[in-house]
Amino acid sequence: MDTIDTTTQPPAPSLARVPMYVLLAIGPGERHGYAIMAEVARMTDGAVRLGPGAVYTTIKRLLDDGLIEETDDRPDPDLDDQRRRYYRLTALGQAAASAHVRQLEAVVSAARPWVLRADA
């Protein structure tokens, strides 16, 4: 993956929960709708199960906001359905995902000690 030069990038937009899940589910590669849905379910341990409507309305919003882009690259026709559409993060989308993960890490770092003590 290309490194992100944050000095030349516009500020990463803050996103709602589902768009952020989709952004993180796409990750560094290219994914189609079904793979995104499955990855969101895996990442959230099955707590979030997106339907086709949620997946594609979110994809539309992320495309409109320039956070992801559709790719023309297709895997081997023998390995996948050619009607599927694949998406990948743009530089802005990578910046938004990175910013969100850093925020989550900061929250987790701050809360982990007392949560672990409380659980113990």
Partner: protein
């Protein structure tokens, strides 16, 4: 394709046409994948549970897209529409005003023929103006709807202009040419409103009022006799309300065409 998939594809019509054109196929594909997973998991009532989740997903996401479409249409107000769009939109506003003005001001019956001919001509002009923007989202549906409303108004205008009057083709209660023409006029307008709703190139209020107004207004056709029977007062009022709603529907569509440029991604009326 399974029955489940066919039903799902039909339900995708809940989404605005522009969204459907782009995402209906991958959404149907994703639903088919989920259906396959549910069957392979072998859980009892797996398909039923999938449908329960899917129903909520469809309703919320379709609603969000309709709301987003309205926001997009509203945001496009910042852009000035073309001269021809403004002119044809104003024609639509005038068409609605010509139709509803007798509800506000008493007008002699002698003015009925020129008033209705003017209304028909202005609606035809508006339909031409609306067509380019609607066709950008759904060419076939827009063409059928526009053709219907132009034909219906052209037919009615021609009859009034030539003074054909109430010629009865078959000598029966339903043989009146004027009745057929009136039915076609109201029916075409209702169909046009429904098509506009489905296409989604304009905000929905004008289209909804056009559908409701046309279906209610149809009760006022003389040959039905509803306005002269035991419930004449009720049907007469209903017909007047229908005509007013019908007129306001055209006014809203005309005003939107005149005041708001095409939403992003669609050609302008002058293109």
């Amino acid at each position: 394709m399974s029955t489940h998939e066919r039903i799902y594809r039909r339900l995708l019509r809940l989404f605005p046409a522009a969204f459907r054109a782009r995402y209906a196929e991958p959404m149907a594909q994703l639903f088919a994948d989920q259906l396959r997973d549910a069957r392979e998991a072998g859980a009892p009532a797996g398909s039923l549970r999938l449908w329960a989740r899917t129903a909520g997903d469809l309703l919320t996401s379709a609603l969000s897209q309709h709301l987003e479409r309205d926001r997009t249409v509203a945001h496009s107000a910042a852009t000035v529409p073309s001269f021809s769009a403004r002119a044809l939109g104003i024609a639509g506003v005038l068409a609605g005003l010509v139709l509803i003005v007798p509800a506000v001001i008493a007008i002699d019956d002698v003015w009925y023929p020129p008033r209705i001919m003017l209304f028909n001509a202005l609606v035809i002009a508006l339909a031409v103006g609306l067509h380019r923007r609607q066709a950008a989202a759904s060419p076939r549906l827009a063409s059928v709807a526009s053709a219907l409303v132009i034909l219906a108004n052209g037919w009615y205008l021609g009859m009034v202009m030539l003074g054909v009057g109430d010629v009865n083709l078959f000598g029966t209660a339903i043989g009146s040419v004027m009745l057929f023409s009136g039915l076609f006029l109201w029916g075409a307008a209702a169909a046009y409103g429904a098509a506009s709703l489905a296409i989604g190139a304009f905000s929905r209020w004008g289209a909804v009022l056009l559908v409701i107004g046309s279906l209610v207004g149809i009760t006022g056709l003389d040959r039905f006799g509803l306005t002269h029977g035991d419930f004449g007062a009720f049907f007469d009022t209903a017909a007047q309300v229908g005509i007013a709603l019908h007129g306001v529907g055209w006014i809203l569509l005309g005003a939107e065409l005149a005041l708001r440029a095409s939403p992003r991604g669609e050609p302008t009326a002058s293109a």
